[in-house]
């Protein structure tokens, strides 16, 4: 398949099941909501060493947030529920609780609940106050709904009160959707990835967890060093073209990868499609030669994102 001079490889991205949650951070203004969100999602590029993968999903208008202030939705992904809960709580406690004027709310419904502010309340040293809002009592038509009670904690802090919802939902999700951009120069590869990220940021339910959404150090499974589980993806390293089993043609000088975590396969499909479309819109005349994807032969991850099917 060729789009605007860009070859779409007949390959697929291989992805894994993960657990995910969404949290909503609000603050006095969007600037401080973003500061808290950036802190909370910092050092969360890969589960390999960060414990989770996290990112800002989008900014929210005051009408979209529980407390009517500007907000930011963040998504956090981890390999298991326990790890997710630990990461969420640690990050909420160190990055959001500490951020001026912030408040923290659940951003996703699920029967499986994980603590958001449930344990952070102990920071209040006994001065914390719970407020329970039972929507079923306020609106009897909701009485049959599975989750109608929301518990909030008001924790006294030096700038006033930190308001947090006690729990948020944990859902099944997918991590590791990806595609590779192969270009004739490093600036062209980066420009294409920037265009892709700009387009993909408009898609809900996905994050691109690496710095700026782009990863330049894609990895393969295993290493010559026994202590390492992953190492550089030498088949796509342009400087190794002459000394390894390369997957690059002579004209490729730079490869960059975009990794996508999403709540469902459909979300990742859509994000990959708009991302690849944006890259292909630049086309061969801007040095974009190929789109490929990272996989492990289909033996490790149950979710396969075939590039040509997505772009069909």
């Amino acid at each position: 398949m060729i789009i605007n001079g860009v070859t779409i490889d007949a390959t697929f991205a291989e992805a894994f099941p993960m657990k995910a949650t969404r949290a909503i951070i609000t603050a006095q203004n969007e600037k401080w909501a973003l500061i808290a969100a950036q802190a909370m999602t910092g050092f969360a590029t890969s589960v390999i060493a960060c414990g989770c993968e996290a990112g800002i999903e989008r900014c929210l208008t005051p009408e979209e947030t529980p407390d009517g202030r500007p907000g930011v939705a963040v998504l956090i992904f981890a390999m298991g529920g326990k790890g997710l809960a630990k990461q969420l709580e640690t990050r909420a406690g160190q990055c959001v609780l500490t951020s001026p004027t912030s408040a923290l709310f659940a951003g996703i419904e699920s029967d499986i609940k994980i603590p958001l502010g449930k344990n952070l309340r102990y920071f209040g040293d006994g001065f914390q106050i719970a407020k329970v809002i039972d929507q079923a009592s306020l609106n009897p038509s909701l009485a049959q709904s599975s989750s109608t009670t929301k518990r909030y904690w008001r924790i006294p802090v030096m700038d006033g009160e930190f308001l947090t919802e006690a729990t948020t939902g944990q859902v099944e999700a997918i991590g590791g959707g990806n595609f590779l951009v192969l270009a004739t120069s490093q600036p062209q590869a980066l420009a294409a990835c920037e265009a892709a990220i700009d387009a993909m940021k408009k898609i809900p339910n996905v994050i691109m967890p690496f710095p700026g959404g782009v990863v330049r150090s894609g990895s393969k499974v295993g290493s010559k060093y026994k202590a390492l589980n992953a190492s550089t993806n030498d088949a796509f390293c342009p400087t190794l073209k002459g000394m390894t089993n390369t997957d690059l043609s002579a004209d490729i000088e730079s490869v960059m990868e975009i990794v996508i975590d999403g709540l469902t396969k459909t979300d990742i499909d859509l994000a990959m499609r708009v991302g690849i479309e944006a890259v292909c819109a630049l086309g061969a005349q801007h040095g974009i030669k190929r789109i490929s994807a990272g996989n492990y032969g289909g033996k490790l991850g149950p979710f396969h994102f075939h590039l040509q099917e997505i772009m069909a």
């Binding site: 407390d67 009517g68 719970a130 039972d134 009592s137 009897p140 909030y152 008001r154 006033g160 009160e161």
Partner: protein
């Protein structure tokens, strides 16, 4: 199906225990069976059809017409469904209610919503003492749900309140929020003496400055983030509490009762 309707035909001199006439107890029953159910009235036991004419068949919605202030225990332990009362009711309305909703067009007596666990109780008139309270000798009052009073309430509103919300558009009597364990009471009108007497935790949200007793300490004026969330939750109510113009988030905070645990608060609109 039309609502199962009980129309009172005589007003007995003695009080009537209406607790058998709740939605869950009338399911799958023929009208003839319902008509024969016993109701305690003073020291006598009467058949339902000695007091009421019965019509309709939908037991998930019960309507009581021509009600008056000696019909006690309406909606006791209600576990679901809806009860609408046209007229006044006696004491213990919605006592121990578990779910569902009760709406009263008129006034109610003592202990309305006492020890209720969940559900929605709406009183369009005035209500007596111990709204949402605990029965004498008991230590825990209302444990959940919401009570909305559009008129005035008597003394001891939310006595021993454990959880849930009591919203009063009118005024309250003395000792509003006395011995509260937790929960929220909001009063748009005025409150009597000894507001929050011996409250341990919980929130009294007041539109008018009450007489603050010496055992409450002024914590200053604050903008609190949880207030917009509470007011947003009220938006579905058929009440002045649902009007956006009534919402506020800036309050004077008094902590107390320092003669008790002292973790409660009186928040007064600033």
């Amino acid at each position: 199906m039309s609502a199962l309707t009980f129309t009172l035909t005589i007003q007995p001199n003695q009080r009537v225990d209406m607790s058998p006439l709740v939605c869950q107890a009338l399911q799958q029953r023929e009208l003839s069976e319902i008509a024969a159910m016993p109701l305690h009235c003073g020291k006598k036991t009467l058949r339902v059809d000695e007091l009421f004419t019965i019509s309709g068949s939908d037991s998930s919605h019960i309507i009581i017409k021509n009600s008056f202030n000696k019909l006690d225990f309406i909606g006791k332990n209600l576990a679901g469904g809806r009860i609408t009362v046209e007229g006044d009711v006696g004491a213990y309305l919605g006592l121990g209610m578990l779910a569902g909703s009760i709406s009263v067009v008129g006034n109610t007596g003592l202990y309305a919503g006492a020890e209720m666990k969940k559900g929605y109780l709406e009183i369009n008139g005035n209500t007596g003492d111990f709204l949402g309270g605990a029965l004498p000798g008991n230590k825990i009052g209302m444990k959940g749900g919401l009570i909305l009073v559009k008129g005035d309430a008597g003394a001891r509103v939310g006595d021993h309140l454990r959880r849930g919300m009591i919203l009063i558009e009118g005024n309250t009597g003395d000792y509003c929020g006395s011995r509260m364990i937790a929960g929220t009471i909001a009063v748009m009108g005025t409150t009597g003496q000894h507001v929050g007497y011996a409250m341990r935790r919980g929130t009294l949200l007041l539109w008018n400055t009450p007489h603050i007793s010496a055992s409450f300490n002024d914590c200053g004026t604050h903008t609190l983030a949880f207030l917009p969330i509470i007011f947003k939750a009220f938006a579905t109510l058929n009440s002045r509490f649902a009007e956006s113009s009534t919402a506020f988030n800036r309050v004077q905070r008094y902590a107390g009762d320092m003669a008790e645990m002292g973790r409660g608060e009186i928040l007064v609109k600033h």
